[in-house]
Symmetry: C2
Subunit: 323 residues, 2 copies
Amino acid sequence: MSRKLLGIDLGGTTVKFGILTLEGEVQEKWAIETNTLDAGKHIVPDIIASIKHRLDMYGLSKEDFIGIGMGSPGAVDRQENTVTGAFNLNWKEKQEVGSIIEKEVGIPFSIDNDANVAALGEGWIGAGNNNPDVVFMTLGTGVGGGIIADGNLIHGVAGAGGEIGHMIVEPINGFACTCGSYGCLETVASATGVVKVARLLAEAYEGSSQIKAAIDNGENITSKDIFVAAESGDSFANSVVEKVSFYLGLASANIANILNPDSIVIGGGVSAAGEFLRSRIEQYFLKFTFPQVKLSTQIKIAKLGNDAGIIGAASLAKQFLTK
Amino acid sequence: MSRKLLGIDLGGTTVKFGILTLEGEVQEKWAIETNTLDAGKHIVPDIIASIKHRLDMYGLSKEDFIGIGMGSPGAVDRQENTVTGAFNLNWKEKQEVGSIIEKEVGIPFSIDNDANVAALGEGWIGAGNNNPDVVFMTLGTGVGGGIIADGNLIHGVAGAGGEIGHMIVEPINGFACTCGSYGCLETVASATGVVKVARLLAEAYEGSSQIKAAIDNGENITSKDIFVAAESGDSFANSVVEKVSFYLGLASANIANILNPDSIVIGGGVSAAGEFLRSRIEQYFLKFTFPQVKLSTQIKIAKLGNDAGIIGAASLAKQFLTK
């Protein structure tokens, strides 16, 4: 039997698992709830128990696997295979992860942060088509990302590489960001950022608009409401999408002007707006890039959805192939 | 005798040569004029003749060398070792470079573009201290750059990686750039860009200033004049340096927010302003970066001056060590 990869996508709500071929085909996948009680001390044992249980169920043993890869929130130490400060897991202190899983399961283990791992997944099997130069941007509760350049995931000197959400796109009058800066991409292009842009633009807008009316009435609106209204012809909502696309196009252009990737892949909840959003971003991207980049770097929507995490995590384990 | 590297820095005025140890020590260096007559057809033969002459002079033979590396202007094909569109050399059409030099000199040859090669030099022996994550920015007639990330020079899918000068720092009312975009870093931070910023700010400035007076009198001023006046207390010149530093700090911060390099090294003629400029850029850099990057990425002034080219070129030849 050909040997397999095991990918684990650790999140605050569920832990997703996938058994993949070396070519990235998902053969089995399952998920368990993340039990964050007691400072998250059940998480690693639950993962181990679930792996053992499924391997039994599928008639597989540790010899069938090349390795295990995992994507995790928080600050990941890739040498020590530990995680620190993953607040949605209740892991405030340093947590041993890899050493315990390797000992209990007997398969080599590798870990990286969740946004980087999703970038690896989209870069390998998803919209990136296995190109060695792919940038992934995820627009969700926050804005995260991962950068693959010349075939390597870029971590930087302190592991802060790929933090696309903290590029400054509004240096003069930007919104305050949780990071302490003002005008970060995350403050205008995350799900909550899109709503912030809408609230600001609503102050000056004078036409009729459902969305503007909802904001003025103090109703809760979501980024999805805004995209749906914009597609239905609400011109206020449209002006919000235009402004958000300007910021995303500017940030994408500045990434491409210095890295010239094959593609910038946009994923996460906000990217559900699909081609409607992609084409708008592309307009500004083409305005802000120089000729060689215009011709060679593409803006794409992510393909893998929720599977990006397990697929990218599994790809981490390919490193054990030559060892 | 230990084996050596030969580095060649090909420019529009001179061709510089260096013989280096594997540790990057320059043992010999010399230069010849670049003869751009007759569509630049003398350049490669002149380089070959100069290498042969010097090797004779120093009593060295091809066996003493691991390889030759070269930095060139224009569009470099690193697989074919050719150069196209190097207008300051009069090489409009594709020019065979590596194949001819290898055949005539008998030493393995490698080539990359001049800004990338300077980045390799500063990254290896210069301000980068051989760190695997170093970004180099050169402020001269134009603004160029090179990015070393996770130990690799980033070329991108079409070889346009590292074009820091075309990051957009003024997306709304920027100056036109030669690349066709508006608001590129090069339009405000190259030697001519600094003067453009001064001309724009002069329109609204009302105090007394030598520099403002010179602009209003239609005199030619240089970026150096502006930096010298600013250091001497000319408050108009100071406002120009402040604005240029804002742009450089913003661009540096956005590079660091996504790549988190150990350092961003600033070289080129404009960087002769030294600590006066560096500290100003750093103020804006610290304003626009998030905490992990503030703590781990530094802004530095380049150390190697004109030698960055031959040193970086020589470093290209280290790849032949294992072959």
